[in-house]
Subunit: 323 residues, 2 copies
C-alpha cells in the first residue's frame, strides 16, 4: 500500500505534524530534524496524498482549462496545442496539475465550468474562448472564483486576461513591410466576429492612414487554406495589388498557393505565423511569430498569482516583437 505521513513520522521518530512542517519547509523546524525526516521521505519514497491535502487546505493545486470545440477547428489547431503546452509547462513549474475539459458548445462550456468549480476539484479556471455575453464568465465573476481568459474579453473589468497586442503588431508590421510611396495595401483576415480580427484590422488601417495609402480589407469566413486561396482569387481579380498583410498561417498558405500558381511577382507580404514556412518562403514573406506558448505561460502565471492572492486584475497584453 501507499506510504503515508504517519509511517514517515514513525520511521523518523517524530510526530506527523513535524513531518507536515518539514514538507512545507516550516522555518521553525530544526535543520537536524528536517534532515532526518527528509531522509525517511526519500528512503520510503513518500508522496503526500493530494486528496487529503486538498480536503483540509481547500486548495487542490489543480487548474481547469475549458477548451471550446470551435476554437479547435476555427484556427488551425497548432495554436491551441501550443497554448496548452505553455499552460502545461508553467503549471508544472509552479507545481499545479492541469485538467482539460473539451466542450462541444457553449452550453457544455458553461456546464463544464460549473462542474469543475462545484466539485471543488480546481483552484482556478482558464477559459480559452470568449463570447458575447459569456455565461461562464458571468458565473465565475459572481462566485469570485479565480479565472483567466486567453484572448480579449468583451467586458474587461474585474477579469484576468492575456492576449497578444494584435493592434500594435499589425501596425508595426505594416510599417515594416510596406514602404512609403505605395498607394494601397490589402489585409487578408479570417472570421470578422473575432476580436483578433477586429484588432488587426484596426492596426492595419491606422498604419495605412499614417502612410497615407489606401487600405483594403478582405475577410474570409474562417482561417483555412482554402479561404486564403479564394480570397486571393477575389483580390487579384480586382487589381494587381502589391502589398499584403495576412492574418494567419493557413490563410497565408492558400494565398501563396495562388501566388505561385499564377507566378505573381514583386509583392510584399507580412504574415502572422507559427509553422515552419521559413525554409521555402523566407525571402518573400515577412513572418511574425505570435508565440502561442507564451500566451499559455502568462495565463497560468496570472491565474496562479490570483489564486495565491498575490495579484489583483493585472492583465497581460503581450507585445509581439518584430524581428
Amino acid at each position: 500500500m501507499k506510504v503515508t505521513i504517519k509511517e514517515i513520522a514513525t520511521d523518523a521518530g517524530v510526530s506527523v505534524s513535524t513531518v507536515s512542517r518539514v514538507i512545507s519547509n516550516n522555518p521553525k523546524i530544526s535543520e537536524s530534524t528536517k534532515e532526518k525526516v527528509r531522509e525517511s521521505i526519500e528512503r520510503l519514497n513518500y508522496k503526500p496524498n493530494i486528496m487529503a491535502r486538498g480536503l483540509v487546505k481547500k486548495r487542490t493545486g489543480i487548474l481547469g482549462v475549458i477548451m471550446p470545440k470551435e476554437a479547435i477547428t476555427l484556427f488551425s489547431s497548432p495554436f491551441f496545442i501550443e497554448v496548452m503546452q505553455g499552460i502545461s509547462l508553467k503549471g508544472k513549474e509552479r507545481d499545479y496539475y492541469i485538467m482539460y475539459d473539451f466542450c462541444k458548445n457553449e452550453k457544455e462550456e458553461y456546464e463544464g465550468t460549473k462542474k469543475l468549480v462545484e466539485s471543488g476539484l480546481v483552484d482556478g479556471i482558464c477559459l480559452m474562448s470568449t463570447r458575447k455575453g459569456d455565461k461562464s464568465i458571468k458565473y465565475l465573476k459572481e462566485l469570485q472564483f479565480p479565472f483567466v481568459i486567453v484572448g480579449e474579453p468583451e467586458e474587461k473589468d474585474e477579469v484576468l486576461w492575456v492576449d497578444n497586442n494584435n493592434l500594435k503588431a499589425t501596425y508595426d508590421m505594416v510599417k515594416k513591410v510596406i514602404s512609403k510611396g505605395e498607394n494601397s495595401a490589402v489585409f487578408i483576415g479570417g472570421d470578422k466576429n473575432l476580436t483578433v480580427t477586429t484588432n488587426r484590422v484596426e492596426g492595419f488601417k491606422k498604419a495605412c492612414k499614417e502612410l497615407n495609402i489606401q487600405s483594403v480589407v478582405h475577410l474570409g469566413k474562417d482561417f483555412s487554406r482554402e479561404e486564403g486561396f479564394r480570397l486571393a482569387e477575389i483580390i487579384f481579380a480586382k487589381e494587381n495589388y502589391k502589398n499584403f498583410i495576412v492574418s494567419d498561417d493557413n490563410l497565408l498558405k492558400g494565398f501563396l498557393e495562388y501566388v505561385e500558381k499564377f507566378n505573381i511577382k514583386n509583392i510584399n507580404i507580412g504574415s502572422f505565423n507559427r509553422t515552419n514556412l521559413k525554409r521555402i518562403w523566407k525571402n518573400k514573406v515577412f513572418l511574425l511569430d505570435i508565440k502561442p506558448e507564451k500566451l499559455g505561460i502568462e495565463a497560468v502565471n496570472l491565474l496562479i498569482d490570483n489564486i495565491l492572492g498575490d495579484s489583483k486584475f493585472t492583465n497581460k497584453v503581450i507585445d509581439i516583437e518584430l524581428n
Copy 2:
C-alpha cells in the same frame, strides 16, 4: 461557502449517511426518503466534494493522460487533438475527469507518470506513445496500476492498448484502389521507426504480392507536407508510377502539390486522411478516415473497465471501414 452533505442532511431531516446512500443510489433506502433527499440536493445545488470522496474511496474519478511532445509534432497535430476529444467525450460520459500532462521528452513522461500515480490523483493512466523499452510501461506494470496505450506497444502481454488495424486497412485499400493488371504500386510513408509505418507497409506488401504487382516503398523522415513533396520528386524522377498509397494527411498534401504542379494525370491514389480534402480531391483520391476520436473513446473505455475491474486485458484493434 460551498454546500456540504451535512447541510443536505439537515435540510432533508435525515442523517449524512442516508444522504450518502441516496447519492450512491443504495437500494436499501426507501423511495420516499430518496425523493426527499434528492429534492434538497437539487434545491441547494449540492455537489459532492471530489477530494473528500476520493480520500475515503481511494478512487478519484480522474484519468491521467501523458502527452509526448514528439507525438504532437511528429504527426500533424489534428490527430492528437482528435484523440483527446474522444478521451474527453467518453470520460464525461462515464463521469471521469481528465488530467493532461504534456511532456518534453521520455524522462518527463516517466516522471509525469510516476508523479500522477504517486500523488494518488488519478485512477488510471493513458499513454499516448510507446517507445522501445518504455520505462513508464515497465513502472505501471510493476505497480499493477491501470493504464492503456494508444498505439501498438512493443511488448503486448499484460497491457491494454488500442490501435487501428493498419495492416488490414492498407491491405484493403490497395485492393480497392489498385486494379488488377497494373505492374507496380508505391507506398509513401513517414517515420520508419513507428509501428504504424511498419504495419501499413506490411499490409501494402501483402496486397501487392497477392495482386502480383511490384511494391515500391518510400519512407520520409516525418509526416510533413514538405516530405510529401520531396518524396514525390524522388519517385517521379525514377519512373512514371501510376498507383500510390499515401500514409498520412500532410504527406498527401505535399504529394498532390507536386502532382498538380507538374500536371500529372491518370494516377490512382489511396490515402489515410482526416482533414477535409474531399472538396478539391474527391474524384482523384480515395480517402480513408482513420477516426482518431474513436481511438480515444475506446482507450478510455478499456481503461475505465479495467479500473472498475470489469475487464482483463482485452485489447482493441479498430477496423477502419472502407467506404
